[in-house]
């Protein structure tokens, strides 16, 4: 874990209540999420890393409360305190040749970094994204440019297939030897229940420190008590107790 200062290069509304935040600073960030210091708010806000390059991090977040609303108002050029190097992410090596990535809502953000890694390893990547409505869609162009096959679902049918991600998976009939999922718990539970074979899901829990020492986000798993922030947020399907 490192404590760093970044500059906001972009902080823009890209979909309903959804912002793209690009931060510039030093080094290449590792870890599954960063913990942002929001001025005037006591605890940091953990946000998944969507993309990381040398000196640059891309994040997506939703305005769900006062803290994220304040973040949305921070202008470009503002400095922001960031804890980096947090969380155990998806294991790209678990996939041998062909992966299925299933995201719901902003779960699309952390899976994008994984998709890039899988493609860099020469693997085939099939992607299913699900959103409530068309005006919540993000990252579709980025995924289409990167992956081998792509399917979109919206609950109200305003874009792509009408229904759940599981409906889109049925339509796609993808080949895969390992799957990865990130999104609302109910969606991931359905995905892990419906899909054959091994996979990983990224869980969410209200965090304190975000770095594994306060034990606020502990959950029961088949492999014992685990901290979502440190031992996860990504867990093996077989270990998750829904």
């Amino acid at each position: 874990m490192k404590k760093q200062s970044y500059t906001i290069a972009e902080n823009r509304l890209v979909a309903t209540k959804t912002y793209k935040l690009v931060l510039e600073g030093e080094g290449l960030v590792d870890g599954e999420f960063v913990n942002l210091e929001i001025p005037g708010f006591y605890l940091r806000r953990p946000i998944s890393v969507c993309d990381a390059e040398e000196g640059r991090i891309t994040l997506y977040y939703k305005t769900v409360g006062k803290g994220t609303a304040f973040l949305a108002d921070l202008p470009e050029g503002s400095k922001i305190g960031v804890l980096t190097g947090l969380g155990r992410g998806f294991d790209a090596d678990a996939c041998k040749e062909e992966a299925l990535l299933v995201a719901g809502g902003l779960g699309a953000a952390p899976l994008y970094l994984l998709a890039k890694k899988l493609k860099a390893q020469g693997k085939k990547v099939n992607v299913v994204l699900g959103f409530n409505k068309a005006d919540e869609i993000v990252l579709v162009d980025e995924y289409k440019a990167l992956c081998d096959s792509f399917e979109l679902a919206t609950l109200d049918g305003s874009a792509g297939i009408k229904g759940f991600v599981t409906d889109a998976i049925s339509a796609m009939k993808p080949n895969y030897d390992f799957f990865y999922t990130c999104g609302p718990m109910v969606m991931m539970r359905a995905v892990c229940g419906a899909l054959e074979g091994s996979g990983e899901a990224s869980l969410e829990e209200r965090m304190g420190c975000g770095a594994g020492f306060c034990y606020c986000c502990s959950i029961h798993t088949a492999a014992g008590t685990k901290r979502v922030c440190k031992d996860g947020p990504v867990f093996k399907k077989e270990d998750i107790i829904w």
């Binding site: 874990m1 490192k2 404590k3 210091e37 708010f41 006591y42 605890l43 940091r44 803290g67 804890l83 829990e205 209200r206 965090m207 304190g208 420190c209 770095a211 594994g212 020492f213 306060c214 034990y215 606020c216 986000c217 502990s218 959950i219 029961h220 008590t225 440190k230």
Partner: protein
């Protein structure tokens, strides 16, 4: 200018008075990759009970103005794992003062755990938590009456032959001085105060408590003046040393706590918002002492 930051607690020398508080620093090793732990005056380990505990259901944390509520509920691997694994592992990388924080649900449990901690080579001080607001039928129940606090103190002192025993007090009481005096009279070697304040938040959209366990312990910068007042009252009423705790977030806060009567100062919730809080505070102390014309930090203990 080189400043003397060292202090002494019951004959144990600490390089400086700054100690991460129990529950806000895990078992120490969790942060060993982030900075050199040997900077720290001491480390108070996460509260430990006889049996391993998962703790309370999640959510266990709620944000507040200038603070937070936690309801972890003493998640820990049990005293046997503490003395056989956690402490020896920390000892490999940390030379400073290790404080074992012991909790219990009965006087027997406190006694058994403290005896095991007293026999553990790597532990320097035993801190007995009679003030956890997050467990039923234990913890705080022992810390809210002078008689019960004295009973626990006598029981643990009867088995702790090697190490000083600090009793960690709850602020959720009418008269903290009466409880502090009861512990001192029962043989406590020192006191840590204060633990968290019983608090609550409600999610107004869902019309239910934010914390799964309904209530939890409130801590953070907001509680500093209240904690300081209690440290002042207790330090002036008792002869045994006090570790001050509650809302400490800066080198100035450490100095203020010590002027109120604390010999050492624990940093708690601040670690959660800034895991580097303790090293940053320690690094800032010499310049603050210079500004105030203080040569040795011991000289300011209870000057007010």
């Amino acid at each position: 200018m080189v400043k003397d930051l060292s202090i002494e607690l019951c004959g144990i020398k600490l390089a400086n008075p700054v100690v991460p508080a129990s529950g806000t620093f895990g078992f120490g090793l969790e942060l060993a990759d982030s900075f050199n732990l040997n900077i720290l005056g001491g480390i108070s380990l996460k509260g430990t009970t006889l049996e391993p505990r998962y703790g309370n259901p999640t959510p266990r944390v709620a944000e507040c103005h200038d603070g937070m509520i936690n309801s972890v509920g003493l998640q820990n691997p049990g005293i046997d794992a503490l003395v056989s694994q956690k402490v020896p592992a920390l000892r490999k990388v940390y030379d400073g003062c290790i404080i074992a924080n012991i909790s219990g649900f009965s006087i027997d449990e406190y006694r058994t755990c403290c005896a095991k901690a007293d026999a553990c080579e790597g532990i320097d001080i035993i801190e007995v938590n009679i003030s956890c607001p997050n467990v039923h039928n234990g913890g705080m129940a022992f810390g809210t009456s002078p008689d019960a606090a004295a009973d626990v103190t006598r029981a643990v002192k009867s088995v702790c032959k090697n190490k000083p025993v600090f009793i960690k007090l709850s602020p959720n009481v009418t008269d903290i001085v009466a409880i502090a005096r009861a512990c001192e009279d029962a043989g406590a070697d020192g006191l840590t105060l204060v633990n968290t304040f019983l608090g609550m938040r409600i999610d107004i959209k869902q019309r239910k408590p934010v914390i799964a366990n309904t209530m939890g312990g409130y801590s953070g910068r907001a509680v500093f003046p209240v904690a300081l007042r209690m440290v002042y009252q207790v330090a002036h009423a008792c002869k045994i040393p006090v570790m001050g705790c509650g809302g400490v977030a800066s080198a100035e806060d450490v100095i203020e706590m010590m002027m109120a009567g604390a010999t050492a100062v624990q940093v708690g919730a601040e670690n959660l918002r800034n895991p580097f809080a303790c090293p940053e505070i320690i690094e800032a102390l010499p310049d603050k002492l210079e500004d105030l014309n203080i040569e040795s930090i011991k000289d300011i203990i209870k000057v007010v």
